[in-house]
């Protein structure tokens, strides 16, 4: 039987996600956020989740914010939890109902990359000598001090891309690549929402950003464009 990772329903896309899972969520700001998959995860009902994402959601109606507002998230690992509209995060965190692990953005990306690449931990100069580096193992290489950071390997990754084929080969659109690319490699179950489905072979071998080996399920979600970040000049 031919390989076909394309699923037809959100229920099929979310099947089998267990309580207590660690879930990677792609996106940077509004671009490349797998919001439809997040809403499907909220519907699916898994709880006691650990979320790994750059931001901690915005508003209350959708995405990470809604998942947290529904009480499904125990812990969030992120670099920039406070931003315009991060009201749900702040309420829950201030009430002691949501644990936060604050990670420098590049360390977050590399911990995820390492998780996908089978590297259990690595040394980085980032955050040495700071609050974030406190309590971490320090080692000196060639006269410079580094801290030990452990890889992140997750149960589930939720990813958004521009084009996907039935093998799960993915192509992102400009800034939509962001965390989606490393996250797609670092989970046991990688679920993708794609703006477009294309025939196998339409994405040339030099044009694939994430090869299908990393991807388990693809669902077609042609939602259009993310919102403009701010009003633009003429």
């Amino acid at each position: 039987m031919a390989i076909n990772k394309i699923v037809q329903s959100f229920a099929d896309a979310m099947a089998g996600i267990k309580d207590g899972s660690t879930v990677l969520i792609g996106g940077f700001g509004a671009v490349g956020q797998p919001n439809h998959l997040l809403d499907a995860l909220t519907e699916q009902g898994a709880k006691d989740l650990t979320i790994v994402a750059n931001n901690a959601g915005s508003g209350r109606e959708t995405g990470i914010a809604r998942l947290m507002d529904m009480g499904r998230v125990r812990r969030i690992v992120c670099s920039f939890p406070r931003s315009a509209g991060s009201v749900v995060f702040e309420e829950l965190h201030n009430a002691g109902k949501l644990e936060l692990e604050l990670v420098a953005q590049g360390t977050l990306a590399e911990r995820i990359r390492a998780g996908g690449a089978g590297i259990p931990a690595f040394y980085t100069a980032t955050a040495y000598g700071t609050y974030i580096g406190e309590g971490k193992e320090v080692r000196e290489f060639k006269g410079r001090k580094y801290i030990l950071e452990e890889a992140i390997k997750a149960d589930v990754a939720l990813v958004e891309c521009w084009q996907a084929d039935r093998w799960g080969n993915l192509r992102y659109r400009t800034s939509g690549r962001n965390f989606n690319q490393p996250m797609a490699t670092a989970a046991d179950l990688t679920i993708v929402q794609s703006q477009h489905l294309v025939e196998l072979g339409d994405l040339g071998p030099d044009d694939i950003h994430t090869p299908g080996i990393y991807v388990d399920r693809v669902i077609h979600v042609p939602y259009g464009d993310p919102p403009a970040a701010a009003p633009l000049a003429d």
């Binding site: 420098a104 953005q105 590049g106 980032t126 700071t130 974030i132 400009t174 690549r177 690319q181 403009a228």
Partner: protein, 226 residues
Amino acid sequence: MTATATASTPTADNIKGWSRRDMAKRLAEDIPEGWYVNLGIGIPLLVSDFVPADREVVLQSENGILGMGPLQTKRTFDPWIVNAGKQNVTLKTGASIVGHADSFAMIRGGHLDLCVLGSFEVAANGDFANWTTSLKSVPAVGGAMDLAVGAKRIWLIMDHTSKDGRPKLLEACTMPLTAPGVVKRVYTNLAVIDITARGFELVSMTPEITFEALQARTGAKIHRKD
């Protein structure tokens, strides 16, 4: 002169010095052609307006853009392109896009010639504090700590004193550090100051102020260049 003595000496006058755009312009003029540069969000982004049009400087944005251009207009609108500050920006001819792991490998790997950041405080030993004023509220760190240790040089662009006149250039930072010992140069509204093995070294200053008055607004000794 000790940090505590000067830190408790608010300035009584209202010398404003250079404007933020003046500061950004001075800094931009010091960036040589061919450098790869990351500009932090806020005032540092103003620097991009003042790089001379005939000088090729390649701007990096931590979310994976190399070759970032000016902000989009209605005519160039593409919601899929954002910078680290989540503004819609353009791409220059020759630009490239990578994912977050590759972008920070570029940053951490020492490939950027320069990163320009804003800051709350900087110390004479090159320590700086720009990510949070306190750990009481939940801080957000973003990419500041990665940029601080990864770029070949860190230049800060910041006010010389706080609104109530307290020095922001200090013997030692009082706020949580972004990184120890990395800052090479500081552009303020009053002066341009290098950080060397001796500490603060004056490069230039606004004609509105004397060296003694500048020193009085600074929380550690300023050395004159030999």
